[in-house]
Symmetry: D2
């Protein structure tokens, strides 16, 4: 309980995504998602949603294959940072300090989860400064009035061969709380929804369907926030009209109660436009357990889950056909 | 910063409201707000929103005058409870322990803020048990399918003669963070928006317009949550059709970005149906300062604030007319 | 064009549905859809949505098998009624006059479309009188504050073996305009969307998948209106929590742009909760043609159409398995 | 009744607005409202909403003073056009034929209502051709993904000294139906809501507060459509952030049940972003009468009407101060 009371991690982000089609990916995030390019550096483009408080929340980096580069985790303080580094080192998953976490981010500690996904832990970061004040003094930027207009990077879903191991690392070492999980009939976990705040999910691990065949360290999706379900519906209109690949039309998840729209950005990474989700105020909220038979009913309104939603991730993995 | 990192208070609630018209008030909260009576005890009726995790979140107690009886504050643990009690005692504002905080609530420490509003601090509470499970396993109750159908008690706004003193108590002794405040031209505070989570506001103090004339310890409003702005609009339809007094038609606050509908329940207490509001993820989010000239623009979309919103509270105070 | 200029039919409704489970069906339409029983007569129960201007819009009649009893069509005047009767008689599809179309409906002419679905044409009908006036003087009833709270019967979709023949009857004899249709690769029509107003669809014919095997005169669905998409989403929550069979979770049709939720009432009839849909103001709006390849993309946001949506209707038809 | 059955007018539009600040007005309608410039001609710029079926629906013309140039009215056919011209001529309000009603519009008959507002009656018009087809085959254009993104010109509200005279002209000569009106205590009309379709209002006359002082032929507002109330709320955010003058924050009218947002475009004309509104299906729907005491309650949710809403119009009229 003391871990829960005093989370050392404040929130998730920024996130780096790899893309083999950098220009198309930048176009997607600016023209379709309504984000703006904050700056460019080397082979990377740094973007922001209009209400991100940091200078940027998404880094797109050219790479041979799609996937996640790293995900940042900001701590509440330098002391919190040191405390978690010690725990990570003890778990044998540290990869060392960087003087700069990334542009605008202070020194950062680089580590990986047991599956090998990369993270950076940091406490200092530059805030975005709105060029011209508006009447909306508590909004960090200005509505771009363009396309989906996502406000900020919201949450991350990554795939793992052994969800339980990641979950144990996230709760035991990083200090996350687990609000919901899927328990499969064979006793393994199908997924785990983790948070350090009252938000229903910030970090999600779900089972990689191709783990047994060698898939490893893959991304399921990065989610970006809009304030209303109506904006998710409107986002679907915009995507369809502009030939964005819509994988899963807007609907509601039972787990976490999030409203969603899923598609693939041109580089291949799955992107979600999300809104809603339950809030967890109770300090002793029991973890909600979803069974296979629960999941067989589909999403919240019994709509069947699109098949690729259970199999596709980045880097793309092509399982060999059985002989 | 350490206070911020380790909030000892998890959330606000339940709340007790006094009403001189107990039956009418119960009817309002059940028939109009869609809450249900969980049980009755003595002169009090205990009600719940359908997604409150506790057995009840609102206690209506018959009294000569409307107003707030007390507001509960749940801590993360017994240790957190003891820690805060020590600080409150040191501030000279403790009123002693009760064996039972109220029905279903464990032992509680009774205290008041500097203005004299009553609070109870507790760590143990009984959870509500859904009589029949539904597919929505992460929802604490079942939609009543009735009228406004508020989910839960959300936040509290109380009036004070000296907002700064209450704010200092809430941040210094209780461990709240101040996310936004109004600074008047004379240097006093017009209001302070406080939270222990990423939610934009949980505890709000605003200036009592009649403080100089003797008004004291009054309630501005108790707010109940719905998930969408559309539900606030629909709530307004329902209230008007059923002759509930609507004081302030649905619109958006600039402060905290909450969408609102305000009316008076039959006992006279102001009630809000609320949705939305910004989320504060940054550990070092600066407090947003609103000036008198900002406030002169009205609410978020420049609609003028209804006059009584600045003056009315419960118990009702009738300032004497100047000769 | 003159037919278009001077529609003799004002609108569709009321509708009679047959149900083998009358009590369960009445409970569904009152407790889940939020309609109210206006009166009972013989083996029938007459219900209304809260903004139906007629006394009732839905008649539930006990019968061995589910399906549509009849659908009413109100004309603009007695002259319009006589004019259309003459055309129907000329088409050989009249079935004669009734002194009373049904409770509160004046004399009516009974006819069938070429497939055999029953209709009643009438011009006089009793209006509903709101028992107690409310501030909403242009609303015909009072919000029931209960469950889905549909406002009114909105549109009808019936199945046919030969969609083209029904369409030609509806446009040529009844005076409907065809706004959209599906043209299959074999040259037959998969569906036709017809209206006498600017509303995108009032009367819909779609192909009965089992026509070749003998299915005949079946109902696809009866649709009931709510004002917002958010209310469709909320309806899905309510249905799931109360174990109503949800066939097709909320989403948007490409054809007519209607937002939908589909389920089966206990008697077996498919029911839609609908909102939105395009408005057709142009007097010379060309009919939109959807092809098989268009339809293969699924609904508006590329979500796959649930299989039973193409096959299920009432009365339920069980095709014989091939040997 | 025969007039009602066979409306000769199909719909309202396009509209010409005069503006003393043509560039600023064009910028407002493109950058804020999300319309696009279809073409320019002389001192005029022709714009369209993304779902207007005609090439354009708004013509902005440079002029010394703001106000309405003319409003088009499209008939169902040439015969309908001739029929109405004869009635208008008989009423002594015709102003003669033009070979071209305006760019893309066929020959048109120019007339004025009794107050002197200009109209053009026409039957032939060019349709907009979508440059690139999209999956949304029944949408006339493509979402601009920019700012408010209004779909089309929706309705017109003009001021008059004698509302009853205009109403009688609109119903008796043009064939409109009156769905709602305001009857003042002195027996005069405060406003009249007129339509030729099931839409609650297309043409509105309201009383010019300064008629007795000489105001004449003024515009109250031109309304542009969005599909949801959420888009009206979002429009208000966009306007405030970009310093558009918001006169009346989003709320709901009791009359016609339309959801609204009102502001002034840079040239001074009042513009509405509107959604919703009741649908009138009954051929014999009685006209709803609103009294002064009804109106004293404010808009639908009892929010007070902004004072200028009753007085401001274009051209701007400055009543002389009493001595």
């Amino acid at each position: 309980m003391s871990e829960l009371r005093a989370p050392d991690i404040a929130h998730l982000g920024p996130i780096e995504l790899f893309t083999p089609k950098p220009q198309e990916s930048v176009d997607f995030f600016t023209e379709m998602m309504g984000m703006e390019v904050e700056h460019r550096h080397g082979q990377s483009v740094y973007l922001r949603g209009w209400d991100d408080y940091q200078r940027w929340s998404l880094k797109l980096t050219e790479a041979a294959r799609a996937g996640m580069g790293y995900c940042g985790l900001r701590t509440w303080s330098d002391e919190a940072l040191e405390r978690r580094v010690a725990l990570i080192e003890a778990a044998g998953l540290g990869r060392g300090w960087e003087d700069s976490g990334d542009d605008g981010i202070g020194r950062a500690f680089h580590f990986q989860d047991p599956e090998g996904h990369r993270f950076k832990l940091y406490s200092e970061v530059e805030r975005y400064v709105k060029p011209v004040p508006t009447d909306f003094k508590n909004v960090h930027g200005k509505q771009p009035n363009r396309a989906v207009a996502v406000k900020r990077f919201d949450h991350l879903n990554i795939l793992a061969g052994d969800v339980r191991a990641q979950r144990d690392f996230a709760t035991g070492v990083l200090g996350y709380r687990e609000y919901e999980r899927i328990e499969l009939n064979d006793g393994t976990l199908g997924g785990s929804w983790l948070s350090v705040t009252i938000a229903a999910h910030e970090l999600i691990y779900t089972r990689d369907a191709y783990a047994a065949e060698g898939a490893h360290g893959r991304l399921h999706h990065a989610a970006f926030w809009v304030d209303t379900r109506e904006e998710c519906l409107r986002a679907a209109d915009i995507w369809i009209e502009n030939e964005v690949y819509v994988e899963f039309a807007p609907s509601k998840h039972n787990v976490a109660q999030g409203f969603f729209l899923y598609g693939y950005e041109p580089g291949g990474n799955r992107v979600e436009v999300t809104s809603g989700g339950r809030l967890v105020y109770a300090p002793d909220e029991p973890c909600v357990i979803w069974t296979e038979s629960d999941r067989a009913k589909g999403q919240a309104w019994h709509n069947p889950t699109v098949h690729t939603f259970h199999t596709y991730g980045t880097p793309v993995f092509e399982p060999r056909q059985s002989a």
